[in-house]
Symmetry: C2
DNA sequence: TTGAAAGCGCTACCAG
DNA sequence: CTGGTAGCGCTTTCAA
């Protein structure tokens, strides 16, 4: 807990020179810089955080608000939190966790006390209450996810629309005339922002391509197995020859198991594409075409935007959608010839 | 972003009176207090975090270090993080997230910059590198979990030893002479601190009671189903009439499914006790006796200790073990009469 | 290339 | 019960 004046003394220079040598905001001769660095090392000096916040205008802290709902999928959520923390540290920022019942309260608090330089908003709901708050405070905020009313906000996300179109087109191009979508649990279509986007893009694009389409939700962690099985059964009964899956790893596992039990091969009998999966699809029992949702991509971009919003030319508000990438793993083929 | 002098001016008092009125560290007449509160409200005043840190000696921030290993069980982990955050807020503290490859680096950084008042250590390994660091820094730290070398540290945890003894005794008292333990995935016995404690307490207590015992690991999330099934099969083959389960929800589900498939009823044919489960056992298909590991209990205590370690009479180092509680749900009965 | 010194906004001591 | 004010440790302007 040495202080800057001790470093200055030890190096035989003034306090300001030490400060500049460390921040690099003013040229310092090599000789003095070396002496200062030596003193810093020997004293184990590290600038006091409170003093920096007060004197400088940066706290080097980002808030991360995440209203952890009961139905949040923990592994996915953890990936995003971790990716955000890593990206932040890479930019010399720490993450302050805001997990409260009333999400806005914590946000308002850290904003008005100047504890953080910017706020990263996770787990965005379609009608998120944090939207209004974000507009009313000085502290810049970046949404990881797109709320319905996003006018004037900076939002980052995978381009779910384009991703879904990519998937529909792929199976349509392969010749499929009837496709199904196995989606998220029902609650996700009310509380979360992206499942509805996938669903509507799916239906719209299928219409545009003139192919039959049908949609089913999957269950939550307790009911995912039976619901996903039922979904597969119903979609196949309706004549679907290709399935898009928008779900967590468990749902994929169940879908594959159900197909296997029915003696159906992929892609021989049924084609399969995973849309916006944020887990490593290598854990599945067989390779599946995937258009991944990569937490690191969203979070890196969000942090970059947060940092930029503190600088000279701030990023302009709007949607920053990440272009989808299609990974071909061989799970899409032309539909089997109709029997009979 | 009003400042304290504006509040003072608006209320017609001195700066110090405002400060004392807000902190309560000095009596203030009701009349002036009311004027001050009014001014605070109207100006939307909220003290500057950096200034408080610098002037006061508290940052009102706790660090939470969690080296998120690949094999971490996300839902359990999230429960602990959430419980910690809630407990911290209740004490007017925020949580700074430290998730780095080299866990010690972040810890050292926030300690030496005075960014946090104390450090909460999660996901403790038997030979945790953070132990040495904790001893070398000024900032108090509280371990949630017990490392092998815990001399001089403040550690909080469920009393796994007592919990396991409670479970063994229960089935032993019911008349079982041969019991099995289905434990965590293999890796947990190397990287985590509590699974070995449950296992050794199980073996020791069974010896003391003079009953046969056998142990099996379960698998990770990908292999839990087959491994847990095998474990059940092997333990039953060895003659176990009661099973203790120390695992996540999935393991319990699989154990119950395997017993059901074998046509064995609980507790008619096999008795079952869940040891140190941190999930809500109500999600299981049938009620099971449980000695729960309650994240809130550990985290509340840890936060209390962290707060106390900043006060006048700091808690003395040592293990703060939470006494186990046995919840009887009717899954333990005397063993069936031996057939033949 | 370097120094001196004025704050940053608050807490808490010393006076009254 | 209330005020004045000296720092807390650093950043940054102004001077040299």
């Amino acid at each position: 807990m040495a202080k800057i004046n001790e470093v200055a003394e030890a190096a035989g220079v003034s306090i300001s020179t030490v400060s500049y040598a460390l921040s690099g905001k003013r040229p310092v001769s090599v000789a003095t810089r070396l002496r200062i660095e030596k003193a810093v090392r020997e004293l184990g000096y590290s600038p006091n955080a409170g003093a920096r916040m007060l004197a400088g205008s940066r706290t080097q802290i980002f808030a991360l608000t995440e209203p952890l709902r009961r139905d949040t999928h923990a592994p996915t959520h953890m990936s995003f939190v971790l990716a955000t923390a890593v990206a932040a540290r890479r930019n010399d920022y720490d993450i302050l966790l805001l997990t409260e019942e009333q999400a806005s309260a914590g946000m308002a608090r850290v904003a008005s006390s100047g504890l953080v330089d910017a706020i990263l908003v996770l787990d965005v709901a379609p009608d998120d209450e944090r939207v209004a708050l974000a507009r009313s405070i000085e502290t810049p905020s970046v949404f990881i996810g797109v709320p319905d009313d996003n006018e004037g906000l900076i939002c980052v996300d995978l381009d779910f629309d384009a991703a879904t179109v990519l998937a529909v087109d792929r199976v349509a191009d392969a010749g499929h005339r009837s496709i199904g979508l196995i989606g998220q649990p029902q609650v996700a279509y009310e509380k979360s922002n992206f499942p509805p986007r996938v669903r509507s893009a799916f239906e719209r694009r299928a219409e545009e391509r003139g192919i039959r389409h049908s949609f089913r939700v999957s269950g939550d962690s307790q009911t995912s197995a039976p619901m996903a099985r039922t979904a597969v059964a119903e979609l196949l009964d309706e004549g679907a020859t290709a399935l898009l899956v928008h779900g967590v790893d468990d749902v994929h596992t169940v879908v594959l198991a159900e197909l296997a039990e029915r003696g159906l091969s992929v892609p021989g009998d049924v084609s399969l594409v995973s849309v916006a999966a944020s887990f490593d699809s290598a854990v599945l029992s067989q390779p599946i075409d995937v258009i991944p949702l990569i937490p690191e991509a969203s979070c890196d971009l969000a942090v970059d935007l947060a940092v930029a919003s503190l600088g000279r030319d701030r990023p302009r508000p709007g949607l920053h959608l990440i272009p989808p990438v299609y990974y071909d793993r061989g799970s899409v083929a032309p539909p089997p010839a109709p029997r009979g």
